[in-house]
Symmetry: C2
Subunit: 149 residues, 2 copies
């Protein structure tokens, strides 16, 4: 259980980094598609998703076996990419570079999800809502980039 | 967003306390009903639920208005009751007192959920899976108490 808490803490690192780049006025002033969610929704959704992917990593780590390190390395890589998005989008206020970055993140999440499914079905399943949300966030980033060029 | 992280951190306090009372051998040796979940499932489920109720408290806190302090006080009270269960069940190895304690927790969660629904529908909805799980955990505690008297 202590290890589970450590994985959860790791999963929330992007949230802690993201909290250092508050830019509500910048986001409010951007042109957004009609289907953009209300700003308050992002924090709650990410919170639950971070908990889910933290649990997923813990499930993979406790199963062990060959390839575990590689799968968890992928997980750490996608998490680092996730953590980098907010500093780019909100810190640099650069939706274009952020779009490139989140596209790379999307690929990393797909690869990680596949690797997790191969090791433990429950771990892969716990990645799916996260993958769905990153897909949605990528589409939203694309539209914001397009509307504010 | 920083406040959201603080609410999440608060919500995970019971998890941190619970991690201080590891007793896998004790749990393995208890007689359990056939429908008892595998032991590894509890950590993942609680993790996601703690994230959800942390988000719920944040949603109530940011809405503000009269009665907010009372609703959040209820939330803190049910969280304290939640945190106390593991030391009783696993620390004292006392399923009977733990059953009494979780019954009180169940009532506190119902009251908190109602108070959250009254303030913000999304916050109340985020409490429902937690309420369902505490209900299930209460039934499981009852059966374990009954089978091991």
């Amino acid at each position: 259980m202590k290890r589970l808490l450590l994985w959860l803490a790791a999963a929330f690192v992007p949230a802690a980094i993201g909290a250092a780049f508050p830019a509500p006025d910048y986001y409010a002033d951007l042109r957004k598609p009609s289907w953009a969610p209300p700003p308050w929704l992002f924090g709650p959704v990410w919170s639950v998703l971070y908990a889910m992917i933290g649990v997923a990593a813990w499930l993979v780590s406790r199963r062990g076996g060959s390839g575990t390190g590689k799968a968890l390395g992928l997980w750490g890589g996608q998490l680092a990419l996730n953590a980098a998005w907010t500093p780019i989008f909100f810190g640099l206020r650069a939706p274009g570079p952020a779009l490139v970055e989140i596209a790379v993140l999307w690929v990393a999440v797909v690869v990680t999800t596949v690797a997790f499914f191969a090791r433990r079905t429950a771990a892969g399943a716990l990645m799916l809502p996260y993958l769905a949300w990153v897909t949605f966030a990528t589409a939203l980033n694309f539209e914001i980039w397009r509307l504010n060029r």
